[in-house]
Amino acid sequence: MNSQNLLMDVKDLRIFFFTDEGVVKAVNGVNMQIYRGRTLCLVGESGCGKSVACRAFLNIIRSPGRIVTGEMKYYRQTNGSMADVVDIAKLDPRGKQIRQIRGKEISMIFQEPMTSLSMMHTIGDQIIETILLHNKVTKAEARKRAIEMLDRVGMPKPDRIVDEYPFRLSGGMRQRAMIAMALSCNPSLLIADEPTTALDVTTQAQIVDLIRDLQKQFNMSVLYITHDLGVVAEVADDVAVMYLGKIVEFGDVEIIFHHPKHPYTQALLRSIPKISREREELDPIQGMVPSPFRRPTGCQFHPRCTQAMEKCRQIEPRITQVGENHAVQCLLYETL
């Protein structure tokens, strides 16, 4: 992967929440790259900071959270080959520039389509609003485009659905409407935060396939946030495994599933039930995710790690490149 195809380059991103009980380091030094036309999956258990990290891409971190340090360089595709670089972390969250990017160039779909759609407005009105906001078109044109988008996401009878309210649609249909809205302005990056978790398996499969097809058509990058390793194996090109605010391993999907290096990734894969001829024993990760106020020292995973060494308690591991497109943060692989 060459740097020309780079869409987003995140370096040492830290997002802290300053609460009354103390500082929660939700994202604590994240580095990742998103390439054009590829799908990056961010996996991790609840509380690892994956949702907070992806909200940072739109600069919609809610108070008391704040981006403390780090940069998120976004390589904008302008009309020429020359890319215009914007650091999203530095933008004013209410400023003009981020509002041009948010919802247009980078858009997002959420887990619960019922709570993220307004129930007081029709599906059409909500899509049209997005289109009107970012494009110089008339209302009639925007409506035509909204119907066209609904058709592309596989909505039956789009010209009728456009005037329906969200509560009249099933969960899968609502998620399709969300996707239509997210894609209505041709984004270069689609962020999908657990888009199928609330859906049934057959609907999940349809939405997963839909996002994959649309990605090809629109040639966009997708950042997929999920805790479901099955979905990761189906959609990802690259995988970032997150634990307590850090990306502990990054690599392409084949490497992560078949040659994982980090003990956490290995343990995660051993703890999921697989559909196979032989019934395998599950090997769960011992203990549980520590409280956000009492994070372990050194390597954050050491209290649950089966390969922990003495030095893991004190030394914080750095990112080690262990192969082309494969990096890991673990002392086992660090050559000092």
Binding site: V201, A233, E280, I285, M288
Partner: protein, 353 residues
Amino acid sequence: MTTTDTQISSPNKMAAPDNLLEVNGLKKHFPIVKGVFSAAQGNVKAVDDVSFHIRKGETVGLVGESGCGKTTVGRCIVRAYPVTDGTMRYRMRDDSVIDLAAVPEKELSPFRRDIRMIFQDPYSSLNPRMTIFEAVSEVLRVNNLCSPSEMQDRVSSLLRRVGLRPEYMQRYPHAFSGGERQRIVVARALITNPRLVVCDEAVSALDVSIRAQILNLLEELQADFDLTYLFISHDLSVIRHICDRVVVMYVGKVVEVADALDLYSRPRHPYTEALLSAVPLADPRGREQRKHIHLQGEIADPANPPQGCYFHPRCKFAQQICREQTPELRVLDKKRQVACHFAEAIQLNGVIS
């Protein structure tokens, strides 16, 4: 061995000597009420003619998508609702057989000790104002099942068994994480020494690493306490892992019953095939070859199901007969039952080769 044959036998006999529970023709309809006088406007047929059996010591999975009635079946078995029709023959400890569906409400309490339930969400299924000790021992106290000192011992030894420290039993649920709470819920279900435990999405709300811990715990407890599980879940990988046999439901009806491996390697009902094809497998190799079957349309409305086979509007094999006649759940071979007119004729693909 077939449950369908039991309809002719006497009500106090089971079809097979090792059956613990035989559900036959179970129906649960909820009336749709409208208007000032709550006039019934038809029924939601949440469970519509469900039959299956559970053998002693085995784990039976009940799968299907949301709204298919799997939770309602579980709740009927613990008699959270009165059932509309059908029988649920249950073998007691003394080997006598009783129909749970016919037991009057007032005489249910011994069965409520014998058949327990574990719920999905450990956050909402524990009362925040009750300590762990109170929550786990509640059923013993309410029923006066043992003395206070004995109760203390029983609770603490069970808490230890499910992997919690008994010292913490005077704490309230908020002090525990999701995984620990689910262990508390498990302890509360097992405190009465039940024989059958209905696990309704017992691990669905848990994180990957915690889910594996609870699944292992449930398996250990099954061996230790001689438990039989009815495991209700929409997660087919979990079902494959924990179940011996699987019952697949669609819109209130059973469409297929088979041994887990048989079902996953060779489904015989088109809905089972579609359901299996949709399961994401945790292996990126060969994902280009895997094809999801996209079912047309939406799940049928249980208040207004289609004529004939409920699945026919979405089925690619549907013929005229499927639109007219509802297929019975019939015995295909000795380990398999299926409700499809063309089960023998069609070739379907599984997910285990």
